[in-house]
Symmetry: C2
Subunit: 158 residues, 2 copies
């Protein structure tokens, strides 16, 4: 069974990109992303509920469903979770409300979101794109980067 099959290239025949980070660091990068994913959806719900309360005065499950493009059953299930987590209070056929903790989370999320959104616009990204990108990016931007984005935005305003 000789081995003249597909074979790996020599270590760096095609140089490009950065070197591989040390294993532990690399692992931590992926771990951070995985952790972010766990809280991401929760935060999106809470943030949206906060926004609806702020702008509309109430937050109904149906609104959430249509704004998230998700079935009402999914929203209903999610609300149960948010309830268990102590983030919202809900009574059937009534608007949702945020608990103290929920409000806190909503506010933090909104701040992050706004910073990223304004930063992207300041960078020159079109509004629609900026909104989409911000929605995806907001959960993956560290406080350090966030601070830098904020400073950048401030110093690039008319």
């Amino acid at each position: 069974m000789s081995d003249h099959e597909q074979r790996p290239l020599p270590p760096t025949s095609r140089l490009s990109g950065d070197a591989l980070p040390p294993v532990e660091q690399h692992a931590q990068q992926y771990e951070t992303v995985r952790n972010a994913h766990e809280t991401e959806l929760i935060e999106d719900y809470v943030e949206l509920i906060g926004d609806l309360l702020r702008h509309r005065g109430e937050a109904r499950a149906a609104d959430i469903a249509s704004r998230m493009a998700v079935s009402q059953a999914t929203v209903s299930k999610m609300i149960r979770r948010l309830n268990e987590l102590g983030l919202v209070t809900s009574r059937p056929y009534r608007s949702l409300f945020l608990t103290e903790e929920g409000q806190q989370m909503a506010e933090t999320s909104r701040e992050r979101h706004d910073i990223v959104l304004h930063f992207l616009r300041a960078l020159g990204v079109r509004d629609t794109t900026a909104r989409i990108d911000a929605e995806g990016m907001e959960h993956h931007v560290s406080d350090e980067t966030l601070a830098i984005m904020q400073r950048f935005t401030e110093s690039h305003q008319p």
Copy 2:
């Protein structure tokens, strides 16, 4: 059953943040994020395999497991998926390789990744942080934004 319970605030008592986008647009933002999540992991694997091949000459399941901080069983299962998707070729107890399609994906991913990483560094973010943020952000940056980031980085280099 009168209703002097917790009640919504009037529409905009506490002004802040941006207005709510129209429903369809809002829905699209969330949908985009959900779609990104589906491909994200796949791309991460493919990208990592590509990096390992490039830098090490081979990509073994064990390396992936330790670099992703995930069990080997998880990697094994994932490899089966990548196989079914026609992205990698694998033979038991041998290094993985990327198919044409896999190579393409790896390259695209790496490019995106690099652009984001270099952009963050150009912005002034510390290397370790930049790496973590880039890992999370890369899948959520549109082509439009990516192009802007690239231009920015270029014009901010010594």
